[in-house]
């Protein structure tokens, strides 16, 4: 397997995605006594090119490891970061690759990637119930962690009016914030 440097990976994404490629960031840090490099890449793409970007990652490594999907409420939009790692299994060659997408609040949908990476199911189910991002084509639409009697339309990770503020328990003798 040919191993590309972080700069080469960013270039290959730029060339393949064209105008759908928004931005990138490379993080490097020297570690401990021998000063080996810890490396991480962040790539920002438009939603339309999401599946294509995942396919590109699968070309870099046949089975990329998807650690988790993190999501943040930015006000008008929701940012999803798919935390991949590639080139594992080789001494100090692994790269953390964060694939970042921005979804506007009026259209919170994202296609599933469970057909490419079956193990992404838990992370997608969790993103769906916690952030209210609809994963289109998800094979298992149930909730993951939330109990069945948790109210519909409330998403614990949201910071807007759909957040869990009304559900917070106020301790006896305290004011509600």
């Amino acid at each position: 397997m040919e191993i590309l440097s972080p700069e080469e990976i960013v270039e290959s994404f730029k060339a393949a995605l064209g105008s759908s490629f928004i931005d990138s960031k490379i993080y490097q840090r020297e570690v401990a006594v021998k000063k080996n490099l810890f490396q991480a890449i962040w790539i920002y793409v438009k939603r339309e090119a999401f599946r294509q970007a995942v396919d590109l990652i699968c070309k870099l490594q046949e089975y990329p490891h998807l650690s988790i999907i993190s999501s943040s409420d930015l006000g008008d939009s929701v940012e999803l970061i798919y935390h991949f790692t590639i080139y594992y299994g080789q001494h100090l060659k692994e790269l953390s690759l964060g694939l970042c997408l921005n979804l506007p609040k009026n259209d919170l949908t994202i296609p599933t990637i469970t057909d490419i990476i079956p193990g992404a199911l838990f992370a997608e189910r969790e993103t769906q119930e916690m952030m209210g991002v609809e994963v289109v084509g998800i094979p298992d639409n149930r909730r993951l962690f939330l109990p069945e009697d948790f109210p519909e339309g409330v998403y614990p990770w949201r910071k807007d009016e759909k957040g869990p503020h009304d559900l917070l328990r106020v301790l006896p003798g305290r004011e509600k914030k």
């Binding site: 299994g89 692994e94 079956p118 838990f122 328990r169």
Partner: protein, 417 residues
């Protein structure tokens, strides 16, 4: 013989509370006779809202101690990954000596965790004498943890920008003595676990996870390595003192010559990793550089830096069960974290359980499930907890407390009469 129109499979719920499970989780097993046809996993019974607290209540330094309490066993792994993520986000570099101390503590934890698992696994197959033996052996490493950190389990060693306590030259002989004890007992443990006929019968060719399935289901840690996935964060990525050592991911073929991916292989991997941990700690003791243990000893200053800092970071550490990852984002002017996302290894390893259990016997469920070394509290860590729903069956603490108080009063009134 199959009767037309009659259902031949039954669904047996195991859990959330069940003697075979050490923590609450529900497995819905679809069985045909004794054989398991399908498995569904229902999680979420031990949510504690830890990430929410980190984003709404605590400052980043208080979060270290919260991260330590994500898991009772990986109480070094979560803070390790967390402080690395925060350091990355704020641009803090820990001193070299601290990197070595971090690794020593993390490896001591691995020895204790793997021995704990070995005991549980022995207990699951009904081999309680081995369970007692292993847990007695494990006491030595617990004593060492207490000697170095002051606690048996919650180590409280990690700090943003370094570690809280030094490991001094005077403490080295005690560490070496414990490591020597494990070196001498290692072969005995190996014989007990790998050569015993009963254990072999229960674990060989049971709960198989093939390499390709492991890769597709993103399985990590010893469970993945036992299926031949050579993924180990300590080997793959430069972090801590691991970056200075040539660590190699351990797969079972080192000992047995082949990779089967069954429970036996998972025992092999974990046993060999105990030996690997001993070697790593010995190397750390030999090579530990002198110097400071904290980049900035004044915590108020660190807090101030973090409050002004803007950035994101991802910290990854190979916990005893697999890759543990923390993602952190700091926003300038905000006292808490903007985003905190935790993923514990069991989160992904659970997804492999249905594959392992399909075709197995009902009696194999406890040991197959235990073989991934599941840590449920770790996985179910993150949601706002509120029980004030309309259902009458749920009681919140205050109501329960109130009932309790009322009962006391009623009883004392009756007594007074």
């Amino acid at each position: 013989m199959k009767n037309e129109g009659m259902e031949t499979t039954y669904t047996i719920p195991v859990g959330p509370i069940h003697p075979a499970l050490k923590e609450p989780i529900r497995l819905d097993l679809k069985v045909d006779g004794e054989e398991i046809v399908d498995v569904d996993i229902i999680v979420g019974q031990v949510h504690r809202g830890i990430e929410w607290l980190g984003m709404n209540r605590n400052n980043p330094i208080q979060n270290i101690y919260l991260a330590e309490r994500v898991c009772g066993i990986c109480s070094a792994s979560h803070p390790f990954a967390y402080v690395m993520a925060v350091e990355q986000a704020a641009g803090i570099t820990p001193p070299e000596r601290a990197e070595y101390i971090r690794v020593i503590i993390a490896e001591i934890e691995r020895i204790h965790s793997h021995l704990l698992w070995a005991g549980v696994a022995a207990h699951e197959v009904g081999f309680d004498s081995v369970f007692y033996l292993v847990w007695r052996v494990r006491e030595k490493v617990m004593d060492l943890t207490e000697y170095l950190t002051g606690n048996r389990n919650s180590k409280a060693m990690y700090q943003i920008g370094g570690v809280r306590r030094d490991i001094t030259e005077e403490q080295f002989p005690q560490i070496r003595k414990t490591l020597d004890y494990y070196q001498t007992i290692f072969n005995q443990l190996k014989t007990v676990f790998l050569d015993d006929r009963t254990i072999r019968m229960r674990t060989k060719n049971v709960g198989i996870l093939k390499t390709e399935d492991a890769l597709k289901l993103l399985v990590c840690g010893p469970t993945g390595r036992a299926s031949g996935v050579t993924k180990d964060v300590r080997q793959d990525q430069a972090y801590g003192a691991y970056a200075d050592m040539d660590i190699k991911a351990i797969t079972p073929d080192v000992l047995t010559g082949t990779v089967v991916g069954d429970i036996y292989d998972r025992i092999v991997v974990r046993l060999l990793e105990v030996k690997q941990s001993i070697e790593i700690i010995e190397r750390c003791l030999d090579e530990i550089p002198p110097g400071a243990i904290l980049a900035e000893p004044k915590m108020a200053k660190v807090l101030n830096t973090l409050k002004k800092a803007e950035g994101e970071g991802v910290g990854r550490h190979e916990a005893p069960r697999g890759e543990c990852i923390h993602y952190v984002r700091l926003e300038s002017g905000r006292e808490t974290l903007a985003i905190w996302r935790i993923r514990a290894p069991t989160y992904v390893n659970l997804m492999a359980v249905p594959t392992m259990l399909k075709g197995a016997q009902l009696a194999d469920v406890p040991i197959v499930f235990a073989s991934i070394d599941p840590c449920i509290s770790c996985t179910n860590r993150a949601i706002v907890v509120d029980l004030k729903t309309k259902r009458k069956t749920l009681l919140i603490d205050e109501e329960l407390h109130q009932l309790c108080v009322e009962k006391t009063r009623r009883l004392s009134n009756e007594l007074a009469r």
